[in-house]
């Protein structure tokens, strides 16, 4: 080990126990003193780095860990809780969307009928040509005579335009609304104190059939559903 290497080693590792290093150290008083000085310096560095540790740190670390573990457990419960909560929110949203939208439609239909009650008593005697003239503007045609059309006009349900007809039923007037722009998933029965009927999905949009209570709507329904053709 040459002098340079020895000195470098003494600086890097004053407490080096390497045989060659120790041999070199003990070879002369000068080199012994050199290492001793560096060891003393190292001792000083150790003292300087020996900064006081905050009191109670160990206890705080253990406390933190215990609390953290508790919080982790609680977090697990929280995760499950929030999952359940979000699932139920989704359910609630889907539920309200599915049902309230139809309920709204039902309300709109009845509101429109009551608003225009006078149409139930009209005697316009429209024939199939009149009906088709109006239906054409919506892209539809009826193939067969659907009966006496006492009122024929357009209507506005849920801000969507449709065809409003009043036919003569067995017990009284029957309201038909063809709503090409309102889609529903399934046939929905609607009723209130005076009227009853249904909203039926059609090839394009839906058809509303409403009559007085006790009116048999099945025949009209059959006629309409099978004989309206929409140009899509």
């Amino acid at each position: 080990m040459d002098d340079l290497e020895f000195r470098r080693r003494a600086y890097a590792e004053p407490d080096c126990q390497d045989d060659k290093f120790l041999a070199k150290k003990n070879a002369s008083e000068e080199s012994k003193k050199f290492v001793d000085d560096l060891q003393a310096f190292n001792y000083q560095i150790k003292g300087a780095m020996n900064t006081p540790v905050p009191e109670g740190l160990a206890e705080r670390v253990i406390l933190n860990q215990t609390l953290g573990q508790h919080a982790q457990k609680k977090q697990g419960v929280k995760v499950i809780f929030s999952l359940v909560a979000s699932v139920s929110i989704v359910f609630a949203l889907v539920f309200t969307f599915l049902f309230t939208s139809n309920i709204d439609l039902e309300q709109e239909v009845f509101a429109h009928i009551y608003e225009e009650l006078n149409h139930l008593n009209e005697q316009q005697h429209n024939d199939i040509h009149h009906v088709n003239n109006l239906l054409k503007s919506f892209g539809g045609t009826v193939n067969i005579e659907i009966g006496e059309v006492n009122y024929l006009g357009s209507c506005n349900i849920a801000n969507k335009k449709g065809v409003h007809m009043v036919l003569a039923g067995e017990k009284g007037p029957v309201t038909i609304m063809m709503l090409p722009n309102i889609n529903i998933g399934n046939t929905q029965s609607i009723f209130d104190g005076r009227f009853k009927g249904s909203i039926i999905p059609a090839t394009k949009g839906s058809i509303v059939i409403v009559g007085e209570k006790g009116e048999s709507l099945e025949e009209i329904r059959h006629k309409l559903v099978n004989n309206i053709r929409w140009v899509i």
């Binding site: 470098r8 000083q44 560095i45 003292g47 300087a48 900064t51 740190l57 670390v61």
Partner: protein
Amino acid sequence: MLRDPVTSENISFNMKKFFLGNKKTEYMVLSAMASKQKRFEALVNALYADVFRYAYWLCRNRSMAEDLVQETYLRAWRSFESLKDEKAAKAWLITILRRENARQYERFQPNLVDMDDVAHTDFMGDVTADLAQSLETYMLQKSIGKLELEFREPLMLQVVGGFSTDEISDILKLNKNTVLTRLFRARNKLKDMLAENTLKRGTGNG
């Protein structure tokens, strides 16, 4: 081989064995948990001071150092199973600490007070031996604080951590010669800084 006929005594015996066995497992789980907690507490008590000092010299700020210690031990607890050899615990903790420090430092760079600006008092005059001693320590601390991290860190590992050069090169992921060079330069720089300070003090006073 003849099998035991299934009798009601047999069933109840098996049930008993089953439940007792279950209780034993439960006990084993509980005691494993308790022993993990115990081992962890031992790890805290044995090494928290070293870990704190290391953290302090890493970031040179006591409250940040304490946060680092807390975070280090929390992470250690979470991956306690990965500590296989408890003799290696100190190096393991310091590795976690260094990673955590790097993470925190990326997030937020503290406006550290330069140690040079703190209480720069002129101690010249009548100084007692104690005061001279503490002045020397103070100057040394200041100089250590000024060392670049690449020199300060191996020095910390050697002096505070008591690690061998091989261990230091493992922790810092450097080769052994680089570690030796850095240690050499660290002490060299410290000596230079101290000599410069003494010179300044001498001329300031003269």
